[in-house]
Assembly symmetry: C2
Homo-oligomer: 338 residues x 2
């Protein structure tokens, strides 16, 4: 089969790779219905996180089970399934605590930009839908694999409650779906930080009630203005830079919460500042598996349509254009169909 | 009247100071029944936090109301009252959110090592007991003003639940009362980090089930051993150094919580490490006012006796010896009687 392989900065190729097979008795192999390019794929694509060898890419996926290992009992061939970018046994103490992305046996699933994918720990990782979905539902189901699951975790980690005032830092796909998540959780005000018109538009569609275009200290001052000097109850940090984290912490009220899901790059936090801000801080790689059953229901029942975040759809063999479009911010997120 | 004044490193004097009077219509003046020396008083006493002028000291207090301003309606002369080291209006949005130590009108109450004390915002700050307590209850009631309130907030911020496994970093008075707080909240295992026999003994009396004497990475490894490699549900950080914070974060399980109440000194946190630890982080100056009614009830009804933390009782005019004994770690905490 042919799949995406990164060779170096901005050098992504669609080329022959070994066809996945069952290696462990707990594996499944699935036929990908749709995959996509993640904002975090851009870190190695841009050379910020250097790679040392040609690296297969892709960690967002959904599809139909082709084959399962002999110890797999909870999914079977023919089922449509969604899984997380971290395979997890879903039985260890960390999984039971709801942190499947810290599973004691976690394995990164990193070669999903391909027609076929081996998923380890299939019973713990994959969640089947009640039946094979219609084509139009697939983009939304695909988002649950990472980007929507991550936006949801940001809102969950930020403790979004009905009636809350929420700030979302970052207008990438995760931030936009963080807006959608906060809206689903009943937030009353959702202030999206964005200076791009098309993204502002999508943010509003997902439930943003206000837009703040300022950045840095000016953005924090604007949030103070908008909240009678108090700050927001919940802040979703969806970028991962020192600037975005400072903006997030600065926007929270005393006793408020920052949920951070942008992989931190060179972020350090001043203990004393955090102390006097009285802020709650929680984040990490989203434990997508925890949320999958609930999120699948929300999509299945038409309560939300996170697939709206895809503004570019390409055949898988044009994966390189998907990366380029996102790198150049021509697209928010590119969906790939094998 | 005479009270404690700090002149410079290890130079504390008991000398004539102006007698407090009602200045604002919302003030109260109280006659101190007992006050004490706080671990945080040692920062300026040792010159770590330098002072620029002779500074009255003391921020833990309880006593009998002498006089109130004309706008005070919730406390009256003759009542025994306890207040926090931060006066708060208890009506602003931050107070309503339970963060009275971030009150929009907060004022530090910093001259309590004296026979009389002016307390601003008396209605919001002071909580009266149902009657004047017996002498033997006064040490426990005094602790609620800061040290016990702060230990309680550490446990609250660390989300201690019934049945939880808890680690307490720091065996000063706050750490020891953090142990007591976790015990009151129903923790099943409480692991106290201490290498001082007398403090270990008091920790056990307050509810510690295990003692870890190691420090740094060895301490973290020991916690892993004691918890099947998982880590603790809740960790109370009661010191405020880079070492103690690292020990606290390292001891938590994935998705666990660190409640930190040690005022951070030179503490910086690595965003990426926190991210992959999946830890919840919350702390700050304890909003003692939030907890006072509940804690007063627990003491009044004989459910706990935090006053046990005082292992030195001195007349107020020997305040200098109280500081010396704590500085030299001859005493955990010194109570002062005017």
């Amino acid at each position: 089969m042919r799949g995406a392989v990164l060779y170096g900065p901005r050098d992504i190729r669609f080329e022959e790779r070994a066809t996945p097979t069952i290696r462990e008795s707990t594996d499944a192999v699935i036929r990908i219905s749709a995959t996509c390019v993640c904002g975090s794929d851009l870190w190695p694509y841009r050379g910020v996180n250097p790679i040392t060898q040609p690296t297969p890419m892709g960690h967002e996926y959904c599809g139909v089970v082709e084959e399962v290992g002999r110890d797999v009992t909870r999914v079977r061939p023919g089922q449509f399934v969604i899984g997380s970018f971290f395979a997890s046994d879903n039985t260890c103490p960390n999984c039971h605590a709801g942190y499947q992305s810290s599973c004691q046996h976690k394995q990164f699933v990193g070669d999903a930009q391909a027609p076929l994918l081996r998923v380890p720990l299939a019973d713990g990782t994959l969640v089947p839908t009640r039946e094979v979905p219609s084509e139009d539902m697939i983009p939304s189901l695909l988002t649950l694999s990472d980007v929507m699951g991550t936006g949801w975790f940001a809102a969950d980690a930020a403790g979004v409650k009905p009636g809350a005032t929420v700030v979302v830092v970052g207008d990438g796909a995760v931030g936009l779906l963080g807006v959608l998540s906060a809206s689903q959780m009943g937030a009353e005000r959702i202030i999206a930080m964005s200076r791009h018109e098309s993204r502002q538009k999508l943010a509003r569609e997902f439930g943003a009630t206000e837009i703040v275009a300022e950045r840095g200290e000016k953005a924090v001052a604007r949030i103070r203005d908008l909240t009678n000097g108090i700050g927001a109850d919940s802040v979703l940090e969806c970028v991962g830079t020192p600037e975005s984290m400072a903006q997030a912490v600065g926007s929270a009220r005393a006793g408020g919460s920052v949920g951070y899901v942008g992989v931190p790059h060179s972020v350090t936090l001043d203990g004393e500042k955090l102390f006097y801000k009285h802020v709650h801080l929680h984040g990490g790689p989203a434990p997508v598996r925890r949320f999958l059953p609930e999120l699948i229901d929300l999509v299945w029942n038409g309560k939300m349509n996170p697939g709206r975040v895809f503004d570019l759809v390409l055949p898988l063999d044009q994966v390189a254009e998907g990366y380029r479009a996102m790198d150049e911010r021509r697209a928010v997120k590119a969906l790939l169909r094998p």
